[in-house]
Symmetry: C2
Subunit: 448 residues, 2 copies
Amino acid sequence: MEERDFDVKLLPELLEERRFVEARSVLSEMNPIDIAIALGEVPEESLLKLFRILPKEIAADVFVEMDSDEQELLIKGFSDAELQAVIREMYVDDAVDLIEEMPAIVVNRILRHTDPATRKEINELLKYPEDSAGSVMTTEYMSLKSSMTVEDAFERIRKTGDEKEDIYTCYVMDPNRKLQGIVSVRELLLSDRNQLIGDLMETNVISVTTLADQETAAKLFDKYNLTALPVTDTEDRLVGIITVDDAIDVIQEENTEDIEKMAALLPQDETYFETTVLQHARNRLPWLFILMFSSIMTGLIIEHYEVAFQTMPLLVALMPMLMDTGGNCGTQASTLMIRGLALDQIRLSDYVKALGKELRVALLVGTCLSIVNGVRVYIQYHDVKLAFVIGSTLLFVVMVAKCLGCTLPMLAKKLKLDPAIMASPLMTTLVDVSAVFIYFQIATAVLL
Amino acid sequence: MEERDFDVKLLPELLEERRFVEARSVLSEMNPIDIAIALGEVPEESLLKLFRILPKEIAADVFVEMDSDEQELLIKGFSDAELQAVIREMYVDDAVDLIEEMPAIVVNRILRHTDPATRKEINELLKYPEDSAGSVMTTEYMSLKSSMTVEDAFERIRKTGDEKEDIYTCYVMDPNRKLQGIVSVRELLLSDRNQLIGDLMETNVISVTTLADQETAAKLFDKYNLTALPVTDTEDRLVGIITVDDAIDVIQEENTEDIEKMAALLPQDETYFETTVLQHARNRLPWLFILMFSSIMTGLIIEHYEVAFQTMPLLVALMPMLMDTGGNCGTQASTLMIRGLALDQIRLSDYVKALGKELRVALLVGTCLSIVNGVRVYIQYHDVKLAFVIGSTLLFVVMVAKCLGCTLPMLAKKLKLDPAIMASPLMTTLVDVSAVFIYFQIATAVLL
């Protein structure tokens, strides 16, 4: 880390002093991803110069890892030959990602300098819907025929492997490109050279279709410990593969999306700083308005009990504790449900079992909180009736909150909505209504 | 999916009717992971019988994927020979995972039936602290010498590859086991058979030490698109590798942990149903007590303004909306910060930049909410002063909430705490205090 920081600061200086050989040797020692990060920190005017001194064999790798702003800057500075060289070295799925980020004029220039075959593949990939398996796959996989021997397979890998994104899983197809089976390079290495691929291949293949959700694909990696996953069309023909590094990106993306939804945000693809202020406001306002409406409801219930708190103003001061604790209890339960559902550890059919568990937890947690708070109120205000009201309200509120927290994510799932929306903010607001209602019902009955 | 359900229901029946050959053929068509899931659903008394008809070559793979309850049940039913066979087929890291889950008496039996060399390795691995890189690594990696040719390397892989968990990255070590470089099987396959490993290997190797946090290791997979990561001791000697499937598990585990912390839960390793009611209560109570205390503070501030809401009871009914909206705004900001920090998209040095952005977003969001709510209050209560109080309070509260939401996770990071604790529940409770204070200050000044 420290070494890298040193390099970054050094680079523009080396450039200024025209010590290109040194700069090049510093860069060639570094990992392409670290170079991309380092280039993100140099002044814009040095960027193209530095990129040009990169060893040719890693230039494209570095380019792929850079932020889209810098990619755009570079492309605008590239000669036609440079642009062609970079695109030729890129994997098709990376080219697609690049094109999706660039403005139309840059896209045109990129496509003009792409060879026709690749251009056709790019255009095919661009057609898949966002977040589908098709949109994250690559078309550069290793294909074999079942009639080949292990020796033939190695020969083919040696000849064509260089341009494939993953070579460790090979796909066996029939003449109609239907996927017959897969065979790993591990299997090939450990087998006799004369064995037939058809005899070695695993025919029970886990795959997804192009239109499957990318999350479904990523979950298969997690479940079956895959390193690559074949993607087929509706007629079972192999059209591409998803590699494990892209699956990890999808997993992180989906986690971020869930976390954002759980915080009453509309999810976004860009990072925090890439998102404009206006877009941030747009992502935040919808849920704020919805939740505001529901807390206005709470207010209306409170209005209804005006007499109660005019007679006994202390009731108002004790309200936030009841509402907050209820909200927190609901949040805890709903979060466990949401995460359990997301990881397939909890299923819809487990609802009764989960509810039973939550009720028992609520009883335990609620009793603890009630006793502590009842005693606290008694010591502070010397009013045993008030202590009873607070204690029993708290127990009820915790029970209701845990039930809601358990039920609502399940209900959302049942209704084919994302359970993640049933998280903290919605829970807090919904539990508020019940808390206020229970509180004033008990208070008016006991105290007035 | 449907096919699998069919199999599961069928299996005990086939067993009852002693149709073992059929049962075996159904099972041998299935993926070991699916078999493990299916076996989790059969009655306990059929479990051992079904396990015994599994084809030998997949029995250990299935065993590794089963829940610890079922593993324990099986081990108790195994003959010594069966136990030895399963353990012999297991990778050392899986054996360690198994031992960590089993009661002492079962552990003793397992270790008694493990060969001395493996037992030594297991004991070494058991010493690494929980959640360290050492605790998730495996010691079964492919090692090469720099003096070997590509041909020699293939020969070695062919001989010893069968028992290695990952063979696609090979590790080149000097006689003192110091890691000199790595070479991929891809590189080997695409190179001339007579080339020296020493000339082919990449010497700029990304690695972690055994005591590094497993999260640090998992992040390296994500950042550098790795499929395996070498783990070294403090003297740079290679002691193991982490494979990508384990890295994905760590990523999911760390995400779950963050999400649980964000919901005021103490994180737990077990799944929802594996955790007992008592343990659930223990995980939930600490934060509930802490947050309860802070909402009692809010109550004390409210008590201070008793005169205000006795004069104008309506003020109480409008309180939940202000508190909830403030809490939600704070939650949105803090969640974006927490996630950005976790993914290294936001750094501590970005604080001023982030705060500036949040303030601008808050101004925009706050203005929208204020206007809508001011108008709403005016229409509902025909009180222009009250509408002004609500509108201006809301704007202030949103500004304060966004500032807190931006600042607290950064502050936690600075203090080497986990930013995830600064999420929704804490934010809600903290913002409440400020909301109530701002509200009554403005209300008393304007209305009374």
